[in-house]
């Protein structure tokens, strides 16, 4: 009897919830008209999640550009779900009637194609970053697919490795923490490390382990590596800063923080702070603030006809951006301009950070 009362009541609740849901749905349906009414294109950012520092900064950069340009800006978050990512973009295209500029970090490599095709069909302008299939090219979707931006993982992995080797005096053992095995960034950064190792025969790679980009895994892993190699570990190479900071805390628990230098990639705040205290030797960042803003800037300028994508050289259509190195020498300067204050970027300088066409 008691059970029945409860289930009946929950039935009512769900009907009410349904009504509320329907009302909310109708309200959303009413929105596109508002958006369609305006002539200026809507800026749209599509990223993986807001729960990582990297994409959080990306969004700030996008908003900074939108404010500078005086345009509407919308952020779509795929939460690591490719279908959701693509569906949200298609919904935005429908809402704006194609009058939009998209800057997308596709959740997964294959996602770039449906995203670009949908944008080209609707007449929207799109810039992709990091992930796209090798056979998908901006020049095949003129003029809508404006550019694709990546950062050279091999160069990053190599640069930080060289600084690490220099910090430990050119000889001794190091351990390396790699990212999720199947990702391009993990593979490329490791290639860079391997290249640096080949050029420095006195440096010995004691072990290469995978901590899946996570500080928690790196923390446990580092403790175990300390057992195996003990004082033979002179330096730690991490494929991203989050793993580097996990390793740093494992060192701290053993009173080794600051004695064994760490290098990483991404330039997250923890790592920048650690570079200041000397616990990290360096970190290198693709500058997500720039990525978030400039991706939109390139797309918007193409859309309003400031430049014609068709006439741009290949290294403006698919290029490596310039990574920013943060080491002991420039960390104070970087801190002042990027952490204490919002970075100042010249949004008119579209191609200033092009370092070359992407390797094929």
């Amino acid at each position: 009897m008691k059970d029945r009362t409860i289930s009946t009541r929950s039935g009512t609740v769900s009907r009410r919830t349904l009504m509320m849901g329907a009302t909310a749905g109708l309200a959303t349906l009413a929105m596109p008209r508002v958006l369609r009414a305006q002539d200026k294109p809507t800026l749209v950012t599509s990223i993986r999640s807001l729960s990582n520092p990297y994409h959080a900064v990306w969004k700030t950069g996008a908003e900074a550009y939108a404010k500078w340009a005086g345009l509407e800006h919308v952020t779509l978050v795929s939460e690591g779900n490719s279908e959701k990512g693509i569906a949200d973009i298609k919904a935005m295209l429908a809402k704006t009637g194609g009058n939009m500029v998209l800057n997308s970090d596709p959740n997964d490599t294959p996602d770039a194609r449906p995203i670009v095709e949908a944008c080209a069909k609707a007449g929207a302008y799109v810039v992709t970053q990091w992930n796209k299939p090798a056979d998908l090219h901006p020049k095949d979707f003129n003029p809508n697919y404006v550019s694709h931006i990546e950062f050279d993982g091999i160069a990053s992995g190599k640069t930080i490795a060289e600084i690490l080797f220099k910090t430990i005096g050119g000889k001794g053992g190091i351990v390396a923490l790699g990212g999720l095995i199947s990702t391009t960034a993990a593979i490329e950064r490791k290639k860079g490390l391997d290249a640096a190792l080949a050029a420095n025969p006195d440096i010995k790679l004691l072990d290469f382990q995978v901590a899946n980009w996570k500080s928690t895994e790196a923390f446990d892993l580092m403790g175990n590596l300390l057992t195996r190699f003990g004082d033979d570990i002179k330096g730690i190479w991490a494929a991203n800063d989050d793993m580097g900071s996990g390793a740093l805390e494992a060192l701290r628990a053993e009173n080794l923080a600051g004695k064994v230098p760490i290098v990483g990639v991404d330039g997250i705040k923890t790592a920048v702070d650690a570079v200041r205290t000397g616990e990290f030797a360096c970190t290198v960042t693709s500058d997500p603030f720039w990525q978030g803003g400039m991706g939109l800037a390139i797309g918007y300028n193409a859309k309003i006809g400031k430049f014609d994508p068709v006439k741009e050289p290949p290294e403006h259509r698919e290029f490596y951006g310039k990574a920013v190195l943060i080491s002991h020498d420039n960390v104070e300067e970087y801190y002042k301009t990027n952490v204490d204050a919002k970075p100042e970027i010249d949004w008119n300088d579209l191609w200033g950070r092009v370092t070359g066409a992407i390797r094929t």
């Binding site: 059970d3 409860i6 289930s7 929950s10 999640s49 807001l50 729960s51 990582n52 520092p53 994409h55 959080a56 900064v57 969004k59 790699g178 095995i181 072990d207 290469f208 382990q209 995978v210 899946n212 996570k214 500080s215 928690t216 895994e217 923390f219 446990d220 892993l221 403790g223 175990n224 590596l225 300390l226 057992t227 195996r228 989050d242 900071s245 996990g246 805390e249 701290r252 628990a253 997250i268 705040k269 923890t270 702070d273």
Partner: protein, 354 residues
Amino acid sequence: MTQTGSGFLTIHTEPLKSVSDIERTTLMTLIPGRIAGLFGGRRWRSLAPLAVLIVLCVLIAIANPNFIELRNLVRVANSAAVPLTLAMGLTFIILMGSIDLSVEGTLSVSAMVVVLLAANDGNGNDYGWWAVLAAIVAGTAMGFVSGLVQTMLRIPSFMATLGMWFIGLGLSVYMLGGSAIRLNDASIRDLALHRFFGMPLAVWVATGAFLLAAVIQYHTKLGRHILAIGGDEDVAKLSGVNVIRVRITAFALAGFFFGIAGVLAAAQLGQSHAVIGDGRLFAAVTAVVVGGTALTGGEGGVVNTLIGVLIVTVLANGMILLGISPYIQQTVQGLMIIAAVALSLDRMRLRIVK
């Protein structure tokens, strides 16, 4: 009454067994079963996880004597601290035959609360140990809500706690603004950095959590009622157990342990970000199951879980010591789970394998 309940069940399964023996027994279930029979069946099985742990330790120690160095044992204990505290909470839920998927969400809420209320680099708060208390209360409250949702709205624990997982994760993403906030309170960080009798304080806290869980399971009415519900909920209800109250209390208790684990995780990493709990759910469930607690409920306990956590942690430590390639470590872990469950589960008695 509990005893009568399970006895009643056993009698019922016996006559069925002879039939299923002919139809379902395969060579693979028969041989280990017979061997187990030689050594006294059930008792041998309950010791299987411990045997696995000992064999594992011996093998690793032979391959790399560094393993039994005191320094390394301290490291193993240190990396077992968070999983052990989490698994203590989860054990009660699994014993009850339910599941709590909110592990990662609750842990990240608790880690978020402690970091945002103690001295940190995101805001001006500095409430010291009140932050720790608040974090544990937040964890307990999350568990309490899971319990209410499950019993009052009659939503299965799988869905109820899945919802709580995402609610918790969303909450910490929102509060942390997507970035990692550093914990600057030195006394809280001491949980990971300060040592007492050679062990980091986190290990002592985890040991305390284990003792508390053991007392609750073996010496309180709540512990016995949880086991009774897991054994057979109808029988427990007929025997006068207030099932709803026990369920809510158990979920709140699990949340309490997750809350402590969140504080420990934040202290160890010196920071909190929304994904601080990533992968912890799977590790905790693995530890509970490898320890010999049945996912169907009613069998096992916190001592089993202690052994399960140690097996998983020692294995991870050992694979690094042995220099096993990262490319096959996960495969070894998978084999380990199957082997441990195969040894500890009496598959001859299973009427149905779903």
